[in-house]
Amino acid sequence: MHQHSLPRSGLSALGHACVRSVSSWWGLIHFGAVALVLALSPSTYDRGNRAAVIRNIYASTWQVLFWFTVLCALISLVLIRIVVVTASSYGLSQYALEMVVRVLVLELIPLGAALFVVLRSGVLTSTGVTASPLHIEHVPRIIAIAFSVATLAAVSSIVALVLAYLVVYGLSQWGLAEYTHMIGRVFDPVVTVTFVLKTAWFSLAVAVIPLASALQTQHETARESNAVPQGAVRLFLVLVLIEGVSLAARYV
């Protein structure tokens, strides 16, 4: 009797784990959908919430925009220089700019912005998360984080594009036509739409997943110690998934 009960309990534990995981993911998707709907509803932006949104945007974007842009510009400069010099040494300088744009602007900067906002917002450590009604406290925060990811990615991308031009052509204006042509070649409709959608999904994932995981944890107090890694793991999983899908859409 005892010998048969062990595999049965193992199977039931596996079943419970699956159900719990599916329900957890479903709860996360549901939370994200509700947050999105609330964020897009005009009624959310009443006087009180608007003030909260403004404060959150100030804290999540304004305070970091300058330093993040400077940091990103430095890293971009190093990478651009490496790519351009290496490509020139192989006689492939005509591909250097295109490679810089494709790798840096389309891939690294949005991912970097998303990860930076995640680390800075503190949602992974559940600080400041309370089980209050969704639209009262969390929607302004979600909006602010999503806005922060989009803004940091956009500003840093523009800065990186300008830096790439300056590194390759210097302060001359005569490379502008060629550079514009290259930008036009890289940003075909598929790439542009994929880039915009990827950044939007990054914003949503970063804003929703850690918060939803933290809220779920508060309902399941028994598993609290395990909650932080779970939110982080889910977030990174989703980010990698979005990145993979966007790459597949462009290059497969």
Partner: protein, 292 residues
């Protein structure tokens, strides 16, 4: 519970709303500016005309690829499609302001390199030709560096085989070289180049003997010629004599004319004298009987 009460108790920073509004405006400007720039870069605002290139193979041609003229991109591949005859149709949009480089005599090429992508080029040799009309269909000449490799390998293989055939022990080249060696050895022999030319020393010997005999004959001929020259001199003397005789005869002939005239004159005188005698001699008149 109001959300304001949940916010940190620190005093709000100055110009909070203005800063956030600035961020929002910045974001909107960036978004629309980037969109407009990308649209401009992709030539959305340009007037274009269409050129259709027909090629046997569209391998390496992608949508968005450039068509270059003198290294400058003047057009973009808009579409690549398969025609009814199985050939690839590459539809290219060329900006109107750059369409002046396309002429009816322009040549379109598609170059595939070993490293890097395929390139489309247009060459316009005569820029005074009429401009290419919108929607013109042209054949793309394919210059494929890799496609020539098999042909090159075949040629090299044939070349190597020929070299092998030439360097075999029984090859014609080797035989020729051996013959050449024999010839040079013969050249060094007693009869030298003559033996080489005539094939054997015996023939060369005959030729030399003949030459010697010819030399002797020539000496004899020279002696005969000397005699002939002497005889001719004698003949010359005889001729000179004859010439003198001729001259004398001519003088004599002239004197004969004068003599004859003199004789004629004397004869007339005699005749005249006879007539005078006959007139003065009366008897003489009666000798003739005149009948009444």
């Amino acid at each position: 519970m109001h959300p304001e009460s949940k916010l940190p108790s620190v005093p709000p920073p100055p110009n909070l709303e203005f800063k956030v509004a600035l961020l929002l405006v910045l974001m909107v400007v960036l978004a629309f500016g980037s969109l407009a720039y990308v649209m401009y870069a992709r030539g959305v605002f340009e007037n274009t005309q269409r050129v259709i290139l027909v090629a046997d193979d569209s391998e390496g041609v992608t949508v968005g690829m450039d068509l270059t003229f003198s290294g400058f991109p003047i057009g973009r591949v808009q579409r690549v499609e398969l025609a009814d005859d199985g050939k690839a149709r590459i539809v290219i949009e060329v900006a109107r302001e750059d369409a002046k480089w396309l002429r009816t005599s322009s040549v379109f090429t598609m170059v595939r390199s070993i490293v890097g992508s395929t390139h489309l080029h247009v060459y316009s040799g005569v820029l005074t030709d009429p401009p290419l009309p919108d929607g013109a269909v042209r054949t793309a000449l394919i210059g494929d560096a890799t496609a020539e490799i098999p042909q090159l390998v075949n040629t090299v293989r044939t070349l190597v085989e020929n070299l092998q055939n030439m360097t075999k022990p029984d090859s014609s080249l080797n035989t020729s070289l051996e013959n050449l060696q024999t010839v040079t050895q013969n050249l060094k022999g007693p009869y030298g180049a003559l033996g080489v030319v005539l094939g054997s020393d015996a023939h060369a010997k005959k030729v030399i003997t003949t030459l010697d005999q010819s030399q002797a004959a020539m000496i004899q001929v020279n002696a005969i010629l000397g005699d002939v020259r002497t005889s001719l001199k004698n003949v010359d003397a005889v001729l000179a004599e004859a010439q003198a005789v001729g001259a004398n005869a001519r003088v004599a002939t002239t004197d004969l004319g004068a003599l004859r005239e003199q004789v004629e004159m004397n004869l007339r005188k005699v005749e005249h004298l006879v007539d005078e005698i006959n007139r003065k001699w009366p008897l003489a008149r009666d000798t003739e009987l005149k009948l009444p």
